[in-house]
């Protein structure tokens, strides 16, 4: 009982630990599955091991160096996690809060319908759906359209031998904003050899922002979805519809 009373008396400690836990979990949610996560994890491991080593052997100079590093740690984190911080702040913005639950059913149906048709016809497709964060560099790399996102338009845009079929289309606020956009390719080396450039580009974009990227394989017609650096495949049209709806309306663990 003594222990419990003691811990209750120092309730501020628990409050501090709880707030820190929330902060760490928030950071984990932000960086999970991104390229920065592995860089940060490796860096934290190396610094921790070296620091314990320096403390243990009482290496004064190394200890001093780590003390200095600790003071510049916030700046280092901001530089390393700039993409994720931007993404997190975009998710907090008031505009997104009010627009988040807007009815997007018609657009989702248009996307799923066109993807189903493209998959049956074995036509490759790459569709990025903006979530909370814009990616102006990708939009500007393509041809601006600003047209309503309909099933017919999306299917037509990926018709082979047309000028706009190569690249990604960017859907924002129920409109096809741009077509033939160029996406950044992921640097991950652990991907299966069967995944071509289209899938790598989809993963690359999903690592940079929180857009949902739908891919239709030209060779197999397999439908995939990429979000926050995760690739899910194969999906049938119903699963695709469910997944997009879940992410856009944030109903499940996304």
């Amino acid at each position: 009982m003594n222990w419990i009373n003691f811990m209750l008396q120092y309730w501020r400690w628990w409050l501090e630990i709880a707030i820190l836990s929330l902060m760490f979990y928030g950071i984990y949610r932000l960086i999970h599955g991104t390229r920065s996560a592995s860089v940060l994890g490796g860096l934290a491991l190396v610094i921790s091991v070296l620091w314990i080593f320096a403390k243990w052997l009482d290496l004064v100079v190394l200890n001093q160096l780590f003390q200095t590093l600790l003071t510049s740690l916030p700046i280092l984190l901001v530089v390393l996690l700039q993409q994720e911080i931007r993404q997190g702040l975009a998710g907090l913005s008031l505009g997104n809060f009010f627009s988040r639950n807007r009815n997007r059913t018609a657009t989702i149906e248009a996307i799923v319908g066109s993807v189903e048709s493209l998959s049956e016809k074995r036509m490759g497709a790459l569709i990025a759906i903006q979530h909370t964060m814009s990616n102006q560099s990708v939009v500007e790399s393509g041809v601006l359209l600003n047209a309503a996102a309909t099933e017919e338009l999306i299917e037509t845009l990926f018709y082979p031998k047309t000028p706009l079929h190569d690249g990604c289309i960017w859907i924002e606020n129920d409109k096809v904003v741009a077509a033939a956009c160029i996406l950044p390719v992921t640097q991950r080396e652990s991907l299966h050899r069967s995944l071509g450039l289209r899938h790598r580009a989809a993963l690359g974009l999903s690592e940079e922002c929180d857009a949902i990227v739908v891919v239709v394989s030209e060779e197999t017609g397999i439908i995939s979805i990429c979000h926050k650096g995760n690739l899910e495949r194969p999906l049938n049209p119903d699963q695709l519809r469910q997944r997009i709806t879940d992410i856009l309306l944030e109903r499940k663990n996304v």
Binding site: F6, L20, L22
Partner: protein
């Protein structure tokens, strides 16, 4: 209780453990031997309470 409360429990548990270790590290940098001092203070308080003379 929401079922999602327990989802991703490994990440949540790791966050709590890291937060605890981090807090302990920072606290001991600010106040060396903070835990021992707090415990001593607490036992002294308890001792005073049990041996205090009865109120007149």
């Amino acid at each position: 209780m929401n079922a999602s409360f327990f989802s991703n429990w490994r990440a949540k548990l790791t966050s709590i453990l890291i937060a605890f270790a981090f807090w302990w590290f920072l606290k001991s940098q600010l106040e060396p031997n903070f835990f021992q001092k707090a415990w001593q203070l607490y036992t002294l308080q308890q001792l005073n309470e049990t041996t205090a003379p009865p109120a007149p």
